[in-house]
């Protein structure tokens, strides 16, 4: 059958679709990945055929306008979960950014779906153009999430946020949660709600890479990975500085691997002697060799660490990251520091505690076993093929 996968153009979003697309291909299906123009390179460099839909836009400006000025940003910096019911009462519209994205992608995606006639759509959970286009064309749409189900919490806002979009297509209600949800999250970490999930074991995919020699050798000292993810640098000045995290580790007897995006080494400046800075190196290449990972608590890095059984320390920034980090903390595999509380001294203290903690290591291992006990992507692809009526 034909499967159309679609996402927004951030690698943290479309990277999740890559293993799914390949699992469909391995099973003999045709796939196409539709992203805005800025994302096509990331798709083709995963060996997949890309189609550009919609247009690129200044993400930084949009996020500044809709996110940083909202009360959600403040709540998240305190490390608190957002009370979405209260947000609704206060008339907040957290889907504004995504509604804008949907307008940009909607026409192109509908045209592509009508032309290429896929049997199934798989969409990044916040690419709302997808359930709209799928509904307009009468095909099932399956939602892809990347951990604790943040986008399901936003679903109650969708009806209003997408009213104009629906009207354009002559659609009544549209289920933005899709026919089913592809879920890489270990069930013990996941929200308990009525969403139809297909828990699945995902291979971590943080982009392709060349494995340097040191990745293949075993470290002599405890290895700590410090990463602020793929796109956090766009949150300039609004996150705990990466350099500050490295300073916190400077006098410890550990080997630090700091990952930065391409070209980020120069920006980081000088680093402590025990730090190795790597540019654009996929985390999954060396995560298993780490004893601890310090991050912003994003979906990609936390899932990669869970899959590798590595304890985590997080300083989340966005409401989604706070949700992920709090869930992780409850499993015992991670500790979280609120951005407002974060300091070099506190970070160091937590690192020392976590590195010496058998309990955290055991919890991380147990979470890894849980993640790995899920059905394989190949099995889930069979389920989806049946769901599309093409088994």
């Amino acid at each position: 059958m034909r499967v159309l996968l679609t996402s927004w153009s951030w690698p943290t979003h479309y990277n999740w679709l890559v293993p799914v697309a390949w699992a469909f291909r391995s099973a003999g299906h045709e796939v196409l990945v539709a992203v805005p123009p800025g994302g096509t390179h990331g798709v083709t460099r995963a060996g997949l055929p890309a189609v550009a839909v919609g247009a690129d836009f200044d993400v930084d400006r949009v996020i500044s306008k809709y996110y940083w000025s909202s009360p959600i940003a403040e709540i998240s910096a305190r490390g608190d979960d957002v009370d979405w019911d209260r947000m609704r009462e206060e008339g907040q519209q957290p889907l504004a950014v995504y509604a804008l994205l949907a307008s940009i992608m909607q026409d192109g995606l509908v045209a592509l779906t009508r032309g290429w006639r896929p049997d199934l759509m798989v969409f990044d959970g916040v690419n709302y153009a997808a359930p709209l286009a799928a509904a307009a064309c009468g095909i099932p749409a399956v939602r892809q999430i990347w951990g604790v189900d943040f986008s399901s919490q936003l679903a109650p806002f969708a009806d209003e946020a997408l009213a104009r979009h629906r009207a354009q297509l002559g659609l009544g209600e549209v289920d933005v949660l899709g026919t089913a949800t592809l879920d890489p999250c270990p069930p013990s970490m996941q929200l308990v709600d009525g969403v139809r999930r297909l828990p699945t074991r995902y291979p971590s995919y943080n982009g392709p890479g060349k494995a340097p020699r040191w990745v293949l050798d075993r470290p002599r000292r405890p290895r700590v990975c410090v990463t602020w993810g793929t796109v956090s640098h766009l949150f300039n000045g609004r996150i705990f500085p990466l350099g500050g995290a490295l300073d916190a580790l400077a006098d410890l007897d550990v080997e630090v691997v700091a990952t930065v995006p391409k070209g980020g080494r120069k920006e980081l400046g000088s680093v402590p002697a025990n730090t190795r800075v790597v540019e654009d190196l996929p985390l999954h290449l060396f995560m298993a060799s780490c004893d601890l990972v310090i991050s912003q608590g994003g979906g990609g890095v936390t899932a990669t660490a869970v899959e590798a059984g590595v304890p985590q320390l997080t300083v989340p920034r966005t409401s989604e990251q706070v949700l992920i980090c709090r869930s992780l903390e409850r499993t015992g595999a991670a500790r979280m520091i609120a951005l407002d509380d974060a300091s070099t001294a506190l970070l160091r203290e937590e690192v020392v505690r976590l590195l010496g903690s058998a309990a955290h290591t055991a919890a991380a291992r147990s979470l890894m076993r849980e993640a790995r006990a899920q059905r394989s992507l190949a099995d889930t692809v069979d389920t989806l093929t049946a769901l599309a009526g093409r088994a």
Binding site: R25, T44, A46, G47, P49, A50, K210, L216, A378, D379
Partner: protein, 402 residues
């Protein structure tokens, strides 16, 4: 489980490993793909992890020396007086494999020693893999690209790799490994006594941003003309002559009421002059994306294009260019899904007449559809992955351990 894939740096040999590597990843295994430096970008361009082994040899030159065209340009014959050992032919071809293994084996051994894979899978002519695996006691298996024209050369292996075996301190090795992973439908494959793991073929000829025209239905029969990558980069043919011959063939075919899609690695190969309106020249557009919309594939019958057309159920016209192309083309013709020119020079008018005949004879499409159905009945990659993983786990265990 850790799985190491190894191929020397030639696209048509490396690319067939990609879908299987992803199937291992989808099943939760760790995968590294080792190749020589020139193709590291091809590995990462498939979303996989690459590790360098060996050096940046002049592969086009090596291949050009090893392959003698069936229909050489004037003056391209091996000059008289060339020593027999350097003359093209089967021994010479294994000579290329030996040269590649000499370049890669040490690094593959080093990589296996540090990364400790549980299983090594390799392209059939990349001997560094079975040699290193044999030296270290790691289970290994070749992944075939299509019709196994290399099988005959295996009789020469022992002699050809004697020096490398001695260097590694092993007495012998078997490049056929535990079993051959074989994407070729059995009716097309050369019969073999060695164990075979049938695999549902998933073609992978690279990736691209899909052009709009590919999503529309063609108005007239679409014929794809492809030369793969090997001859363009490596032939001893003089480029200008090859280019002139290709243009003549394209122009002749364009006389048909059909859309001719010419797939080339680089447009420059066809020269700068304009081509007829019903000819569309595409650069680096993966064949597996074009073929489903085509009525016919015209190619030299290289494994990558042949297998992509088999998977798409498209009839083929094979114009063999090298001796190693002859047997696969012959076997494909035997299934009824193709016509092979064998070693007859492909005169443009004769090619056009054959294309016309094939387009109006339904039996070719019917046979290609049967062949595709046979390919689709082979076990899916997910099943082959679990089978290989089980075999690797059992490898080396004595019966009493089980």
């Amino acid at each position: 489980m850790r799985v190491l894939f190894v191929s020397w740096a030639w696209p048509s040999h490396l690319l067939p490993l990609v879908p299987l590597a992803w199937a291992f990843r989808a099943a939760g295994h760790e995968v590294v793909v080792a190749t020589q430096p020139p193709l590291l970008g091809t590995v990462t361009g498939a979303g996989l992890t690459a590790a360098p082994v060996g050096s940046a040899l002049d592969h086009a030159h090596l291949l050009g020396n090893a392959l003698r065209p069936l229909h050489p340009s004037d003056g391209a014959e091996a000059p008289a007086g060339t020593p027999a050992a350097q003359r093209p032919g089967r021994r010479r071809r294994l000579g290329l494999s030996v040269r590649l293994a000499e370049d890669m084996t040490d690094d593959v051994v080093r990589l296996c020693t540090s990364w400790r894979p549980d299983l090594v899978l390799h392209e059939p002519t990349t001997y560094a893999a079975p040699l290193a695996a044999a030296a270290l006691g790691i289970p290994h298996a070749p992944v075939l690209w299509g019709v196994n024209f290399h099988a005959a050369a295996q009789a020469f292996e022992r002699e050809a790799f004697a020096d490398l075996c001695a260097q590694l301190g092993i007495e012998d090795f078997d490049s056929r490994g535990m079993a051959a992973v074989d994407p070729c439908p059995p009716s097309l494959q050369v019969p073999s006594q060695h164990p075979r793991l049938g695999l549902r073929h998933v073609p992978y000829n690279g990736s691209c941003v899909v052009p709009d025209w590919l999503n529309d239905r063609p108005h007239s029969p679409r014929i794809c003309l492809s030369w793969g990558v090997t001859p363009q980069w490596a032939g001893t043919d003089d480029h200008a002559q090859a280019s002139a011959r290709q243009r003549e063939l394209i122009t002749t075919l364009a006389g048909l009421d059909a859309e001719i899609v010419v797939a080339v690695a680089s447009r420059e190969l066809l020269g700068g002059e304009p081509l007829p309106d019903n000819v569309r020249v595409v650069e680096r557009l993966p064949l597996h994306l074009v073929l489903p919309s085509c009525q016919l594939l015209v190619s030299r019958g290289g494994a990558g294009s042949m297998m992509a057309a088999v998977a798409a159920g498209v009839p083929q016209l094979c114009l063999p260019q090298y001796p190693s192309d002859l047997m696969p083309a012959e076997r494909l013709a035997g299934t009824g899904a193709a016509v092979s020119f064998g070693d007859t020079p492909p005169a443009p008018a004769a090619v056009r007449d054959t294309v016309e005949l094939m387009l109006r004879t339904p039996s070719f499409r019917a046979a290609a559809t049967r062949l595709r159905a046979e390919a689709e009945r082979q076990p899916a990659a997910a099943a082959v992955v679990s089978q290989l993983a089980d075999m690797a786990r059992d490898f080396g265990r004595r019966p009493t351990d089980r």
